[in-house]
Symmetry: C2
Subunit: 541 residues, 2 copies
């Protein structure tokens, strides 16, 4: 077979010519701005010429600080196709983390949406390697001046440039094409480099009928940000397949999302559950024509059954998928087998989904052994494959805490069934390791929160002399409700194995939360360690 490296320059060529008329729509707040793939292709060439003028050479890094829009799409294609490396900065990271990531990879140029200047400006002076800033669209650029770096207008930089560019087709397909950072809840974010090859293979998976099924008839509403795991691979997959995209820019609240669905008629969509939760409530209250939208992919966190059922009633099928920054991200997608119905169907729909052929998965049990694929044995999920990262950018070698003999340790805990479906129950750091067995904190919390008196519950592992760890149940009661630890323990006893029942109980006025609203369990662990919690121990009583 020919030696033909899988380089994204071919994807740019292909999408902008064979699918020249495919549309990339960008929402403006009042309507959709249309850019054809052919126009994106010419814009990409002008951008590449402009970046060369700014001194971008070889595998220099080019950062973006942008919403999902046509100009960001052009950068997605132009930067890797010219041989440079794209680094979409996650605009939602704290300033320290943004500066850390930009400096770690040595971003040379930053493209910023005019509407995001106020967010970038305070951080810009700390981006020590950045030599040029390019502002896309309007917006007062004055706040950027303090950093003392040249500021260019995108239209001026690209306007007079040639519509063609000498794209780089040679080179190794394993060269880096793009970099994203995982936003861990603890510590600094960790950089992951995607190669031309990994993006190509992942795009082919997005095109697979059993995954997203991208094809020329698709128009996907890409709510998942382009600064978050490459927008789940959809921009490159779209150019590879002729699928069209609908980009919401900064309009991410339910009302404009509903308006753009009615006006721009997407067939497909992708976002985290919280987006769809908000949209569902809006659609239920405001009748909207969503008839073109047949399927939305949900990932990023577990999807509640109520959300799926709610969208079912609008004729929109939610398909659950699992992945992470480290996995490009498609690790699994929950399409139930043909013919299953009822509870079984829902079990499949609510799982994290089935692995594709290019993703190997295994569950490693608490004792370090590889668990059977029985859908029962709980352990940490490890994955391998051509679009799974082999290391982080902070180290030349794989960190043994995160990699296990070539496999990525995902930090997710759950089971794997014989037919390749993942069911994840916990983060590894939250699982409770009791006497060589694992107890899912999330499962205990879900059962506790089903008790009528309980508003919130958080369960963490605390040290235990005999069992290594035991669960501590922290409960917030509803206003005016009352329940004793004994009553709650009896309630649980009907629902979980006896050895998992917590002995230690504490009542809180509120569960501590992180800035993004997740239970902040490390605070509870610290309060417990410091003796700041009033704990009842049923075993001792």
């Amino acid at each position: 077979m020919q030696e033909w490296p899988l380089r994204l320059s071919h994807v740019l060529d292909y999408g902008s010519t064979v699918h020249a008329d495919t549309e990339i729509l960008t929402w403006t707040g009042s309507g959709a701005r249309t850019t054809t793939n052919a126009e994106i292709g010419r814009l990409a060439a002008r951008l590449a010429n402009g970046l060369r003028e700014l001194g971008v050479r070889g595998d220099d890094r080019v950062a973006t600080f942008c919403w999902n829009n046509a100009e960001h799409m052009a950068a997605y294609l132009a930067v890797p196709a010219m041989g440079a490396v794209l680094h979409p900065l996650n605009i939602r990271l704290p300033a320290d983390h943004l500066a850390y990531s930009a400096n770690q990879v040595a971003d040379k140029v930053v493209l910023v949406d005019g509407t995001l200047i106020p967010a970038l400006a305070p951080i810009l002076p700390r981006l020590s390697t950045v030599e040029h800033v390019v502002v896309i669209g309007d917006g007062d650029a004055e706040p950027l001046a303090a950093a003392g770096k040249p500021v260019h207008r995108f239209d001026e930089l690209t306007g007079a440039q040639p519509d063609t560019f000498d794209w780089q087709y040679d080179g190794d397909e394993t060269d880096a094409a793009a970099i994203c950072y995982s936003s861990g809840t603890v510590g600094l974010p960790k950089g992951v480099a995607y190669s031309h090859r990994s993006i190509w293979l992942h795009s082919m998976q997005i095109a697979s009928a059993g995954s997203f099924g991208f094809a020329p008839a698709t128009r996907s509403l890409v709510v998942v940000p382009m600064f978050h795991v490459m927008a789940w691979g959809m921009p490159h997959a779209a150019f590879m397949t002729g699928a069209g995209l609908l980009m919401p820019d900064r309009f991410l609240t339910p009302e404009p999302l509903a308006a753009m669905i009615a006006a721009a008629k997407p067939t497909h969509g992708a976002a985290v559950p919280s987006i769809w939760t908000g949209l569902l409530a809006y659609l239920n209250a405001h009748p909207t024509d969503t008839s073109t939208l047949k399927e939305v992919v949900v990932g990023g966190s577990a999807c509640p059954e109520s959300l799926m059922r709610g969208f079912d009633e609008h004729g929109i099928r939610i398909v659950h998928a699992w992945g992470m920054t480290e996995t490009s991200p498609l690790g699994s997608i929950a399409r139930p087998p043909a013919g299953v119905t009822g509870d079984e169907l829902w079990r499949y729909r609510l799982s994290q989904g089935q692995i594709p052929a290019s993703v190997q998965a295994r569950i490693v049990a608490p004792d370090g052994s590889v668990a059977p694929r029985d859908g029962q044995t709980v352990g940490e999920l490890e994955v391998a494959g051509p679009w799974i990262t082999g290391r982080y950018l902070d180290s030349d070698e794989p960190d043994p805490d995160r990699f296990d003999d070539g496999w990525l340790r995902t930090g997710d805990v759950g089971t794997l069934s014989a037919d390749g479906y993942l069911t994840l129950t916990d983060r590894a750091k939250d699982v409770i390791k009791s006497g060589g067995e694992w107890i899912s904190s999330v499962e205990l919390e879900n059962h506790l929160m089903a008790h009528p008196a309980v508003l919130e519950a958080a369960v963490v592992g605390v040290p235990d002399a005999k069992w290594e760890e035991r669960p501590l149940a922290s409960v917030v009661l509803r206003d005016g409700a009352s329940a004793t630890p004994e009553e709650l323990r009896d309630f649980l006893a009907d629902r979980i194995p006896h050895w998992q029942l917590p002995e230690r109980w504490t009542f809180l006025t509120e569960v501590p939360k992180t800035t993004v609203g997740k239970f902040d369990k490390k605070v509870i662990r610290r309060q417990y360690a410091d003796g700041d919690l009033a704990v009842r121990n049923l075993k001792e009583s």
Copy 2:
């Protein structure tokens, strides 16, 4: 990203576990024999163990001489996954060509279907490198004895073997996995080696929604033989996606095909046009339940519009595709753009189709320049990509007659449109090179055969002092009909450019044909050169 070679051992693992219950059905003449993917996986392991016992090591070649069936499927997976190379012998090749191909690649073992013993036996003594013969199923093995090679029964060789095997996951993904020979109409066949990587990537394309869309809901009727371009990649794609297959074994005539469609309910099918032509006539005469069958892919030669329209009336969509042994084979597939209707729709459906992102195509004009993608400029089609061969096995270097600076010269002549659709009009060897322009022999023939008096017409290029070549029209009139060269020339004059009108005309009682029924134009050229034809030259008259 992880260094994770794309090896078919992973495909075997994946399909036989994650899609363990997927069915591979083999038609027996009276019903379907069911083998699950899990059973195929165990059978593959037993076969690999058996082949090791026969001395298959490293990249030894293992040939098959088999119909499409479950055992052939096991060999398709086992042989590459153990690190050896599969060589499906084309049972329809002449004995000389079969012996040439088997000896060229040094086949060590041949697996033969019991029903094909009579076909293999006369050739076997000439397969000089073959050390063992393995007979699948029943059948008198006595005729094989003359070759003096050990003959084994498949069931005995594999029956007592372990259900597991130490599959080879390491090694280079560019290692050869399988070999097929192109059956050129002239000269010896030419061997093409497919790599693990090329089969993997091609399988992902077969899974793409815009190509075959293989997914767990698919059950494909694989009429195209597994000894012909790897059955168009469907066996490996099936194991990669969970698609099921319906294998017709030796039952390739319309009546059993109709019976197996009604009984085994495929959703999809693939074969050359002649198969579908026969089936259509049968279905029209014998009402059959084909309601599950939604789409069939047709390739191998041009598909007549009447065939497509005929199947449309049965609710079965014919999708035209183009490829060759050298292209794995998927080069293009004719899915019309969304929204086109009427004549435009039919123009797209009747084209050879649109190239996917992994296939580069260009038209090289008669003067050697790359033609514009205008759908008008005619030239030879050249292709490149990761599943296009870079050389033939008869040479370590690319033959410059068949390769052009890394591109494969397909020998097909036609046009390429701006939106990447191929329209092929001729084989390069049949095109008529007149005064620096090309005349399509096929187009002239089609127009001539539309004349009511004409039964058959073959047009070939013959030497011309002024124009280099000019067309010679050879016409067979219908019984009792009459027409003069002048009348036929006038008929053509309304339909083609004036400069393409043939001056030279001859009437034949029958067009000479090859053994597979194609016009044998080299016979006409020789007869003309030898002065054996009575030719009228209108220019001279």
